[in-house]
Symmetry: C2
């Protein structure tokens, strides 16, 4: 709640720079191959200097995990706002999230796969991810209220099915044709059909 000093601002900028470089390194060498020394080299400092900003390599992973989930959450929410409440908003949010994943492949791998077995994200870093889960839960409930889908769609199972569909689209695109943009991707392009499958699986009761 205290006003940040000039030094705090400078420090924040440096941290952001470290995060940006770390993302670049992960993109080039693989998420699990992130090295502090390589980050220091590109930042133009000696490795020990990084320890003023992050106490360990895992702490940097945790920050990346946190930032990634925050970005994903923001993109999801921004996308959701562009469509009608309920199922359209949910689909729009998930598509926006998919687009973010294709633009931020290294972070997406860190968030949605498990490329670094010994990295366990902290509960704080997980929070923005849980917020999205809560959003989706409420949007499914809203979709049911509006008669867009069957009541069974407001369930843990439906959420799991949705996550399977979205993860499948993005995983296949990332693994097989990472350079194709979301709109033209041979897998991401099928998003409408995939979401149609979901709606057909939970058809609303007419009447």
């Amino acid at each position: 709640m205290t006003k940040p000093t000039r030094r705090d601002l400078r420090r924040g900028q440096t941290i952001d720079e470290i995060v940006g470089i770390a993302i670049a390194v992960m993109t080039e060498d693989g998420v699990a191959a992130l090295s502090l020394s390589e980050v220091a080299r590109r930042l133009g400092v000696r490795p020990p200097s990084l320890y003023k900003y992050f106490p360990s390599r895992m702490a940097l992973f945790d920050r990346l995990f946190y930032d990634g989930h925050q970005q994903y959450r923001d993109e999801f929410r921004a996308g959701a706002k562009t469509a009608d409440p309920g199922l359209p908003a949910l689909v729009a949010g998930l598509e926006a999230g998919g687009r973010w994943a294709m633009r931020n492949q290294a972070l997406a791998q860190l968030l949605f796969w498990r490329p670094v077995p010994k990295f366990e994200p902290s509960i704080e870093s997980f929070a923005p991810g849980l917020a999205v889960v809560e959003d989706i839960k409420q949007m499914l409930a809203e979709a049911v209220d509006r008669g867009q889908v069957a009541p069974a769609a407001a369930s843990l199972e439906a959420m799991s099915l949705l996550s399977i569909l979205v993860t499948g689209i993005v995983s296949q695109q990332l693994a097989n044709a990472p350079d194709e943009p979301f709109e033209a991707g041979r897998f991401t392009r099928l998003a409408p059909q995939v979401f149609a499958m979901f709606r057909a699986h939970y058809p609303p009761v007419i009447g």
Copy 2:
């Protein structure tokens, strides 16, 4: 075509041992963190000795990729044989493949994700994977012939949709609850519903 000598056999055993250790290391430290020195340490030899069996770290990845795809192909085909031709066989094969993935998580990541950006599998290593693709193409055609699904299911799009569904199930299970077995997994358990979605998307024409 020549009969393998005793030395060839011994050599093959050593190679198999190296491959097994490499899989263990990838499982513990991440696929991208595979190191030849760690393999040598566990094998009880010095690192240079490994170069008699693999000319480079990437060559070892390539062998792992090849072995993995062979295993996956065999599991897929064995599973497919347990069910009626056409769609049932295809679903049974894909489920068997999913079970294999949960039992061989490191190999599955190497095959179906892209954890080592600088590793490019050779065409030979890709061959068993392409064989499965051919199998699936034929099984979808057979399913259409038998009236199990709509003619549109014999298409590249249907194959992509299927791959999205299967990859989604396995990816979510691997990333979120890798220790749950296929039958009890919170995501893999939903395989029947997911395949039902696929069938409903390509309903056969009655008549």
